[in-house]
């Protein structure tokens, strides 16, 4: 398979890149300053694209690669892949579901605890020597708080399971109500936000869910409410979120994703009621290896004419 051209669109994982290099003729997109020339030169040898949450395969790239057969994403979210175009051209698409579910759910709870109990802020307090001058203030208890989840798929359910262990009552919003669930369903995000203390975004990013967290939802969540986003930056109207946090209209936020990564609104840097992480939802050694193996497995299966492991298209 060493002659098969595979294009990896951005740096994502050293182990993955090394393994791809061993098995295929790997092109690293970021090594070519003139992308147009690169594509013109190599378009007939590239049969696979490997993307992730940052960059995937949009219509333009797909059109530029006439021999493209498969897009394997190093992520579960596929908002950076033009799925319609892939379907139209018979291009297969795979992602990395399940292997990262637990890590993302763990981070959602970790961010909730960090915001409510001010973990990062009090770590700063100790390191700066302020503890010698006085005790840190009271924080907010996490156990027993109502948790509202947007999107009750694999990740949403894993978050619910963890929050239940803290005796948190669970409620959710989903496109359709799920039968046989003991969690309370709300038919709109605003109603969910009005009735929970911690609101967690865990749905895929689509045209319908873009800015699903808007001014109305933020107002409903209120000055004691906390927003946790482990989905995608564009789920949230970011300028609205920032002004609500700065003005105290929203109680706090734990954010792993942003509208224009790696840029994070600087107004957030001085706030003690926010916790900011650089899109590390699936960022553990164990999980990234499993994700990489899944990408490699899917590509191998495709080129050996075997069934794909985790196809979406």
């Amino acid at each position: 398979m060493e002659s098969i051209g595979v294009l990896i669109v951005c740096p994502m994982n050293t182990y993955l890149e090394q393994e791809l290099e061993k098995r295929f003729n790997l092109f690293k997109f970021w090594n070519f300053p003139d992308k147009t020339q690169f594509l013109n030169t190599h378009k007939n040898s590239i049969r696979a694209v490997v993307g992730n949450a940052t960059a995937g395969a949009d219509a333009e790239l797909i059109e530029a690669l006439p021999k493209l057969e498969i897009v394997a994403s190093f992520s579960v979210g596929l908002d950076k892949v033009d799925l319609g175009k892939c379907k139209e051209k018979g291009i297969r698409v795979t992602n990395t579901p399940d292997v990262l579910t637990e890590d993302v759910a763990d981070l959602a709870i970790g961010l909730s605890l960090a915001v409510l109990r001010r973990l990062c802020e009090s770590d700063r307090y100790v390191r700066s020597g302020k503890w010698k001058k006085g005790d840190y203030k009271l924080t907010t208890k996490f156990t027993g708080k109502t948790v509202g989840i947007i999107g009750l798929g694999r990740i949403g359910m894993a978050i619910a399971k963890r929050a239940e262990a803290f005796s948190c009552p669970i409620s959710y919003y989903s496109r359709t109500e799920k039968a046989d669930l003991k969690y309370k369903y709300y038919p709109s995000v605003v109603e969910l936000a009005s009735n929970c203390h911690i609101l967690i975004v865990a749905c895929p990013l689509t045209e319908e869910t873009r800015h699903i967290i808007n001014r109305e939802v933020i107002d409903a969540l209120g000055p004691k409410g906390v927003l946790i986003n482990i989905g995608r930056g564009p789920h949230v109207d970011e300028p609205e979120l920032v002004s609500a946090l700065v003005e105290g209209r929203l109680g706090g936020a734990g954010l792993d994703v942003f509208e224009h990564e790696p840029y994070v609104p600087e107004e957030l840097f001085g706030l003690e009621n926010v916790v900011l992480t650089p899109h590390v939802g699936s960022g553990t050694v164990e999980t990234r290896k499993e994700m990489a193996d899944l990408v490699l497995g899917n590509l191998e299966a495709h080129f050996l004419n075997k069934p794909l492991i985790t196809p979406v298209v």
Binding site: D106, L107, L119, S167, P262, T277
Partner: protein, 337 residues
């Protein structure tokens, strides 16, 4: 102002200025936040406000005192107890009991009301929060983003963390806090093991009578036990080396359960992988070597300080004193096993 005392059916002999008389040696945190409310029910003798040395103050003021409110810092020794001849109850707001001479209290038949399981959920929440923070580098990441480094350091990838699921977690002390920690971490897919004074037959987790042996079999040690003569420096260099280079230690018990000097050395020499610490041997002093470590999360002994819990504590303190003064069973009496 409502007449609290009638509702509680209290013996009027116990009243001073219409209020229940309670001696306080040092101000508990509940004073800071609920002091005014409490002063409507109790007449407090505030020992710490007097210029007199404690023994002298007690000799003069404590002859008729029946009740003491303790914050957990001033040791209640046989000497002190001797100076309060009518002492019938000590209500302590601390999680630990190592400041009270339990033997002397038993001898004098002095009841002790404890904070009970009031703090257990908050303490467990903090233990889990610190563990996730260390494993997933949340505080490190927050610092990194706030310094603008995510945007500016384009070629640098923020280091990967470690997955919680499947990890062996050893809980040292399986009391109310330890059990709450276990219940939470099971939902994250962790495997729970434990060490305790005695094996708990009703519990499904594997028991290790020797804490060093526990450390050998764990990826994480979570200290949830109180401080006693037996547990002092129980986590020593040997235990830490058994925990190993990938091992993480979390402490929401008492600083002195761990040999702090050895732990700092292990962290600096990378003999263990990280630590999440809410308590220290000599608070509020924290070994400065820890300040330059990225794999350590530090908390200023706040495990049990949420607004909700402090409010519940206030109610518990009032409830216990009222029960004592109306000859009813205490809400949360110390039951020794």
């Amino acid at each position: 102002m409502e007449n609290h005392n009638h509702e509680a059916n209290i013996n009027q002999d116990y009243l001073c200025n219409g209020l229940l008389q309670v001696l306080v040696l040092e101000p508990p945190p509940v004073f800071k936040f609920h002091g005014e409310q409490l002063s409507k029910i109790f007449h407090f003798l505030k020992a710490w406000e007097s210029p007199l040395p404690l023994h002298q103050y007690l000799t003069i003021n404590s002859q008729s005192v029946k009740a003491v409110l303790s914050a957990g810092t001033t040791p209640i020794t046989p000497d002190i107890i001797r100076l309060i001849p009518s002492l019938g109850i000590i209500v302590t707001t601390s999680a630990g009991l190592n400041h009270i001479d339990l033997q002397e209290c038993r001898r004098r038949q002095i009841s002790i009301a404890i904070a009970g399981t009031l703090y257990s959920e908050d303490a467990a929440d903090l233990a889990v929060g610190l563990l996730i923070d260390v494993f997933r580098k949340i505080s490190t990441a927050d610092r990194y983003v706030r310094r603008g480094l995510w945007a500016s350091q384009r070629d640098y990838q923020f280091p990967l963390g470690s997955k919680l699921g499947g990890k062996q977690v050893g809980i040292v002390g399986l009391g109310s806090i330890g059990l709450n920690v276990a219940k939470r971490l099971e939902a994250f897919g962790c495997n729970i093991l434990y060490n305790s004074r005695k094996k708990k037959p009703s519990v499904p987790y594997p028991y290790y009578p020797d804490v060093c042996d526990l450390a050998t079999h764990c990826d994480v040690l979570i200290i949830c036990c109180g401080l006693t003569d037996e547990t002092h420096h129980m986590i020593n260099k040997k235990v830490l080396l058994e925990l190993g280079k990938e091992g993480v230690i979390i402490n929401v018990g008492r600083g002195a359960v761990i040999d702090e000097k050895e732990m700092v050395e292990c962290l600096v020499q990378e003999e263990i992988a990280g630590a999440g610490l809410d308590v220290f041997e000599s608070e509020p002093n924290v070994p400065k070597e820890l300040f330059s470590l990225e794999n350590v999360v530090l908390s200023p002994h706040r495990a049990v300080h949420s607004e909700e819990t402090l409010m519940a504590l206030c109610d518990l303190v009032v409830g216990n004193f009222e029960a004592f003064f109306s000859n009813k069973p205490l809400l949360t009496p110390l039951v020794e096993d």
